[in-house]
Subunit: 201 residues, 2 copies
């Protein structure tokens, strides 16, 4: 069986929200599984010298406009966070809790967290809210998920995955790998699909 | 008559090369003229905190790969500059010399300079080479263009245009304006065309 294709993203990234479901659909069309890899862009930015688009001089206003315009074109609801970028750590840990304890639900929880935040404007910076969202999908008690998702093992897992992403060369969100080939940005979904269909060019 | 649509770019930008002719074709399909606006991203970066992609840690290797991969997909020749990013000042001044003295040829000269550098690997950092390229198109003596394109009036013009671009909110290459709506990146060509066809969404 072929390896999964990889979708690295930060929950604080609007472009991750705009791309995640399309990436899932693309993978399904091409008969490939997806490895969902939430990671912490803040850690990457410390090395790359990047910074959140919403904090960059001149660019910030454009990003707001571009994300809103792209969401309208895609027909996706958008509630731009009042205080962007949010801290994505609790959401990412919740995702890796699912990976450890309910892996069959990890994809759905990732989509639900992105959707809750970017589509509905919910605050996903607390373990409690993230756990509520995961609990509805996983069918386990929210209080248990809230506590266990912030345990040392899960914290270490998120740190290790973030380090792995950086080591592989991921530096943005979304950042995708298809059989080792890196693609950065929701703008590259068409190239990703073509790469899958043709085996590269 | 409707206003032209605007293509702001830096001659040191591979994405400008990959997008310029497609933007011209898109404008022709939509019955719009193009205002070609070479400007100096280096001046923008001083304010925006950006930097050339080819100089950014982690990202540089990806950019090389992405530009090469995109060029192959588009069927465009590519000779990645040995010392990227180049200084785009002489090329940009040559373009504004055309604007002042042979405006009907400015678009062709912009395309030819991008193509010479990115498609053929020619060094376009000297006034002499840029003037040779413009002379073939404009039919005026290369020596005259080389000297006159570096005159104070042309230097001032390029500075003023760069300031105008920053004031309008341009911060990348290519950066496009369609009836006041800003679009950043060759990845946005499809949205630009749709915007022109629909009047926005």
């Amino acid at each position: 069986m072929s390896e999964p294709i990889e979708f690295w993203f930060d929950f604080a990234s609007g472009y991750a929200y705009l791309s995640a479901e399309r990436f899932a659909a693309l993978a399904a069309r091409c008969g490939r599984r997806v490895l969902w890899r939430p990671y912490l862009l803040g850690a990457v930015f410390k090395i790359s010298g990047g910074r959140p688009a919403t904090e960059a001089p001149i660019k910030a206003a454009y990003y707001h406009r571009d994300i809103a315009r792209s969401a309208r074109l895609l027909g996706l609801p958008l509630r731009f966070p009042a205080t962007a970028p949010i801290n994505p750590v609790r959401a990412a840990r919740t995702a890796y809790w699912c990976e450890a304890h309910a892996p069959e639900h990890m994809a759905a929880v990732c989509h639900a967290l992105l959707q809750a935040h970017w589509g509905q404007g919910r605050d996903i910076t607390t373990a409690e809210v993230c756990a509520e969202i995961a609990a509805e999908i996983c069918g386990q008690p929210a209080a248990y998920i809230a506590a266990d998702s912030q345990s040392p093992g899960i914290k270490d897992r998120l740190r290790a995955v973030t380090d792995e992403g950086m080591a592989k060369g991921a530096f943005g969100s979304p950042f995708m790998f298809v059989d080792g080939e890196p693609f950065w940005g929701g703008d590259r979904l068409e190239q990703v699909e073509r790469w899958l269909q043709t085996g590269g060019w």
